[in-house]
Symmetry: D3
Subunit: 243 residues, 6 copies
């Protein structure tokens, strides 16, 4: 019996539900998914500022999850906000959905495309590609030019734009897989995979399987070296409950 | 119910058994492991020549596994011989153990060390690091300067050298995880992880979990683009049964 | 007349003073330095967790500085916490001290060494080198293995260790400049430059000159593209005053 | 008097002839060319699977050539299949035609374009660029979208498509040389060089000159370190004659 | 009181004036600008040959400037000809305008575009991007396809083409800043910055501020290691006055 | 009948002779070697300043060689001074000896070591490795810490130090070949290759074979694009005879 905490770093309840559902859809029989979001923060994440705010909420949730005894954590926003900080705090594994989707793509294709929301978030994806080592595995980056919450407005417009961009990516990029660049797109992956006849990868489900795998292998985040627990020190103000 | 074929690319029955055991030890309840090795080829793999020979045996086994209806394949030699060729041939996922161990290491630590057998195989690890994007995630490479089959001679000498090198790597490299650079070291990972207090990663078990995950996510190797099935053409001689 | 806000991202008043003094020592006649630190946060920054907490305080101070009409901002911690987030928030230039010191080093030498505090912070420096493009300009990284606040304990032990490491770096690394890897080392740069006969660079003073230069050139942070102001959205809880 | 073995890794007699002719056209007075192909294998090479099969045939031929006393070997397929394995086996130099063409291009131009056959082979070229160090020297890759053997069908259609793509590359890529990405294009290089007024490089002829040069300099493949002869071990089945 | 020598590496008096004016426009109150050009050399610099000639003139001027007691030097041609040689000769800082503009761009935007003169000079910019570490920070390179001296012909045609290319770069490249790739474009930066609403960076003014900053920080070129003064040796012919 | 001009970029007659002899020792029967050095310049090249001076002499000699009708040029100093400028000026091929030795090393070994003269020249080798794409192919760089002309003082001390460093490199670096980092070491390569039992590569001889090869293939320097002839313009003073 394994508990995985899936953290939506923004405060949107609808998106937390979308993400939780995607996580549960692939969870192994013995896995229970706890989908949470920060109590306070930003309703959607579309830039470095939003990420910096969200990271604190992610850490708060990781601390809560740890207290609850969860076995691992997923950070369900495509910029993987607070990932290395969360790894310091956690004893179990912590996986970001951009990380999960990118790693997964390199296992089933030689190069992949990314389809994300606003153009201003592309730089975040570029920096992650570089940090994770996948710059040369990414054939192209696309933005549908709609904000994150358009995926939750019920109109289906954003979903259709994602679909169109995936079709375009298949036609033009010469890549073998597509990575969906937002936790809010999680529900689209399976249908697009079928329609396009190629892997269209949602990071939420990919990350759940990675956490399950690491737990099964007996690996938490390494406490040898630079991801060791944060050094004890008095935190003040709104942060004092975090250490 | 899922069938995973674990292919030991060399012809050593003892090593095939070691690898099969490591795979079974982590397989999920619903997973059955089929551990095989080529009928013909090299008894151990310690260079590019050995790898080229072994790759044909790997392909043969992938073809057989596919005919048997396995859901995915593991190539259980640290050089990942024939990986991209096997991906073309297979419809399910194919994972190499160097690939699996390296990916896994980057998920639990910022940088890792590698401990392998003969110095002449280090270049193979270096090339894989570059191809997978992890050159900058590898803090150091170590060789115990013993051939692969020393791991199967029953004396325990090679195992002790691996242990010593892991201890040295922990002390000197500043890395947070250690990757074991040979399928024949699979049995050592768990004990060394405990003794060193840091993740010591065996690629065989890591690869099994990756294949399970990809199967659960519904992903095989992408047939869109450059990993599509090999183009039909008449193969001759000892290769004619392969296409 | 130009106002530069120098933000110490930790909450140590002593270090804020050290940093403010270093900034004032090089400020041009027409520049006024405002040295601040967050109201709440961490007393010292020695890892990703500390950085994530500190980043919120940095943003708070940037917002305050902007309201005060400052012309530019310096983030005076060697990990440059919150740098891109702060650039989104600010209209003027924002410079991190790691960034400033590294850029400066490449202008006076072909390769440089870094001397910092705890080994666990080396990975932060490595990631910044990669992000800024200077991986190949850094000859070696050194850690004195003492926490940040040892620089403020009045004993002089940490300072002497910095000095010894700089001497070692000069002897062994083949580099032409040394970058001091902590805002708390700002007071040492001038004396070490003299003693070693080579540039020993403190990022605080370097960053002040960069902000002055950008202001004189008429450049703030570009609002074209991905560093545009954060999209307006309701922030909740302790963050609501930030947008 | 020098003997160079030019190995066409596929089993097409027509292509072996094309390649042999290209080799002889540039061979120095004292050089004799022996053009061979494997007895068994694939009739054309258009992917990793084909390459893995072909590599065994290459090794077989290298062993035969060595027994015959040849002074060096050329692997005349643009993916350089089996190159490092062949270097282990050989005592003389071994040069791949992709390697030869890419090296040559960097000596006469700052950046080059590649024109090859099927799009699925582009990834092989990309990986070679990375391994050889020339990723940043390649301005663009083009595929004519015809299989390799179309170059041998006598219609001239493939040849005309190569020509059109070269003209396009000259117009659009800003590169100073074009590399032909298939041994079967060897006959086109000279005429296209004349027509386009820029170096259009065939790897077969370039490789022959490289082998001649290495032989003249007294260099074989280094047996110091990781390209040393394969370790003696009993090979079984169709491979037993190889060691 | 600080003296900065701004060296136009070509022999065009008109361009020396343009450059001198740009330098003076941003010089701090206490800075005096001395704008010079070589006595002999090339009237404009549009390739490596021109650069090699110009480098000698640059060194001659650096030697003269040093004799005059200047505090630092700017090399005001976008290829930064003779930069490292000049650093050996000088005791004060030496800054190239490509270097200055590229560094500055990375401080105000995540990625930048370059707009330069002739296409043949693009390779020089590419090599500098690589040497300075900014390959991944450059989104695109543009050439107006007019020679350098078209900027001095009084017709305004070249200036209009620069403007058009900057507008195109803003629309298409997704970058946050534009770097002007020629000292002769210095006069355009301020107006284009205003018109485009994004930083359009002239390297001359940026370099002046960098030299001022380094002088204020007390840094000259490091004489520790590989930028030490040239070893004394008898120079002959037209070079004998240089050492 | 082919004429190759071997240009020693320094003015040392003794070294010109050493280099000419090394070139003649490997020249093909039909090749005539013309060994020259600039009339004026530096007696040895040990830094960027020396290189900048030497580059003008190289260009002068290239122009003279071209007037004489030589078929190709070698720049026989390990920093390859003026290489791209010379390529613009020349119609035939131009090869630098660092370039030649590095390329050659990658053809016979997976990684190589460099042994050069003064430590201050190491940065030049590093920059060339980066420009040519071989950074990851170089295992280590060594300097014997003696000036270039020590190789011509008749004592044999420098030669013995080169030998010792080569032996050390073989023992410690794990590389398969050694590149000699100075034209003045040309006479040592053959003997060291024999003694060490691994390729010890002199760039002069390697470059001669490369020029011969390019000439035989019918390739000069590409005049398409950025290595086209320098644009005609009035050169003044000591440079006026160069265009």
């Amino acid at each position: 019996m394994s508990l995985i905490q899936v953290i939506n770093p923004n405060t949107s309840a609808a998106m937390t539900e979308t993400i939780g559902a995607a996580a549960r859809a692939v969870a192994a029989p013995g896995t229970e998914i706890i989908a949470v979001c920060p109590r306070h923060g930003v309703p959607s994440i579309e830039g470095h500022f939003d990420e910096a705010i969200a990271a604190v909420g992610v850490l708060e949730q990781v601390a809560l999850g740890k207290a609850q005894g969860v076995n691992g954590h997923v950070i369900a926003c495509f910029g993987d906000p607070g990932l290395l900080a969360a790894r310091e705090l956690a004893s179990g594994p912590v996986i970001g959905i951009a990380e999960a989707a990118m790693h997964t793509a390199t296992l089933v294709a030689t190069r992949f495309s990314i389809v994300t929301t606003l153009p201003r978030t592309l730089i975040i994806a570029r920096h992650l590609l570089q940090q994770y080592g996948f710059t040369h595995h990414c054939a192209a980056l696309h933005a549908i030019d709609l904000p994150v919450l358009a995926l939750e407005d019920g109109s289906g417009i954003a979903q259709e734009r994602v679909r169109q961009r995936c079709i375009q990516a298949k036609r033009e990029d010469g890549s073998g897989a597509i990575v969906l660049g937002c936790g809010g797109m999680a529900a689209l992956a399976q249908e697009l995979t079928r329609e396009l006849g190629m892997p269209v990868i949602d990071g939420v489900s990919a990350a759940v399987k990675m956490v399950e795998s690491l737990v099964a292998l007996g690996f938490g985040t390494s406490k040898q070296g630079d991801l060791d627990y944060p050094r004890q020190k008095p935190l003040s103000g709104p942060f004092q409950h975090l250490n």
